[in-house]
Amino acid sequence: MKLVTAVIKPHKWEDVREALETFGVTGMTVSEVSGYGRQKGHTEVYRGAEYDIALVPKIRIEIVVDNDDADDVVGIIVKTAQTGRIGDGKVWVSPVETVVRVRTGDRDEAAL
């Protein structure tokens, strides 16, 4: 099993979700995070005092997948989330030893 973690631009979330669903990914876990990188934040002004907001809102997606699917899933995310502009995000893959479905206690492939 692999864990695919993707950090993408928030407005791409809906597209990515659809593309993954079409591919057959049935579940994922999503959170709102802040990104720090080449894409710089923005500036806000309050009573003449300027604030640099260093962080950029991003969406973080975690998907546990079969070993075989990992590459495809990464490919789909990269393709769908790409805008070509700085800040599109990263996707990384890490090993998972086991996964369990809480409802049934099923393990690994059966748990997805």
Binding site: P10, H11, E14, E32, P57
Partner: protein, 443 residues
Amino acid sequence: MDTGDTAWVLTSAALVLLMTPGLALFYGGMVRSKSVLNMMMMSFSSLALIGVIWVLYGYSLSFGNDLGGGLLGDPTDFWGLKGLMSPDALVFTVPSLAFVAFQSVFAIITVALISGAIADRARFGPWLLFSWIWATIVYFPVCHWVFDFNGSTGTDFVGGWIANNLKAIDFAGGTAVHINAGAAGLALALVLGKRKGFGKEAMRPHNLTLVMIGAGLLWFGWFGFNAGSALGANTLAAVTWMNTLSATAAAALGWLLLEKIRDGKPTSLGAASGIVAGLVAITPSCSSVSPIGALIIGFLAGIFCALAVGLKYKFGYDDSLDVVGVHLIGGIWGTLSVGLLATASAPAAVDGLFYGGGVDQLWRQAVGAGAVLAFSFIVTLVIGFAIEKSIGFRISEEEEVEGIDGVEHAESAYDFTGSGGGSGFASGHLAAATAPTQEGVNA
């Protein structure tokens, strides 16, 4: 007709109207974020429903000529407010409809007050049904007892028994509003039972800034409630205004002091609660005590109510937002305080026990308070159980867990994600627009 008096009564009516949205915020901020809309809707629906039935028959039941024994007004007198648009229709020195307006918002807020006792768990439809029945068979009669004075619209006009026969002093509604709503709240809390997790889980206020806004608006509006009850812009109004300030300020201090001593820290929820406790307690007594008397009443109201809000844990009833602790206890104390602290130098011109007046006024106050308490509690129990047993009053435990806002209103209060518009993390997407336009959406 006096234009100054009319200006003040119209202003006061608007101020009191604002109290119900104020209450919605005060209550709404105290519940968890998954129930705030339902909490607010119980107040807003009172604005809607009680507003309508007040026009149709509520005013007439309350302020129609007495049907006998000072128990109920004649519903046929002013059905649909008929006849009251005439320039000749006056109540004391103001146009009748100004008085109708002023009293309408009292009925509305009294019903809304009850809802604090049953936060997070009452189905909305049954709540509406309850409001309707309760206003009709509890509030309108009690309003007649307490607020309908003989002679108000003409020399042969006869009003209610508490105001005219018992001669209890309840200037702006310690009995009719606060004891009435408080006793009803207690009854409903018993009928509906405890929330899942009551006494164990954290059910802390989700937004104390709303509570503070609400408390501020309530205080503001309450000047209309109390000083407006003078039905004119005069010394009586000025006295009641100033007593309302004095008692409320002292009550907030009292509550904070108790917290500091008992819990170690004075809290903002305590300040907001103390404000409301003081306002409740001075409501019946503002015309009959001096500003110093008001300070005493308020300060003790803050202490008493701060102690009383703990009772629900002791006795195990889930009066969620402390309608009993604040309105029932505060209302009883305020009503009795007239018997203790009234001074003949105040506009009501009566001496209480501590001013040498003996217990004459005190027993009148006690009887008035007791009568309203008992009547409201018992009738509310009956209405509540009838609804619970017939159509069901409470949402299911699973729905409680999910949150009543979604269950009863298909809404959630907040969405702070940067969602939609091609941007942000769309927490959802538009599925369909209003039925007739379904095509449009997919176009």
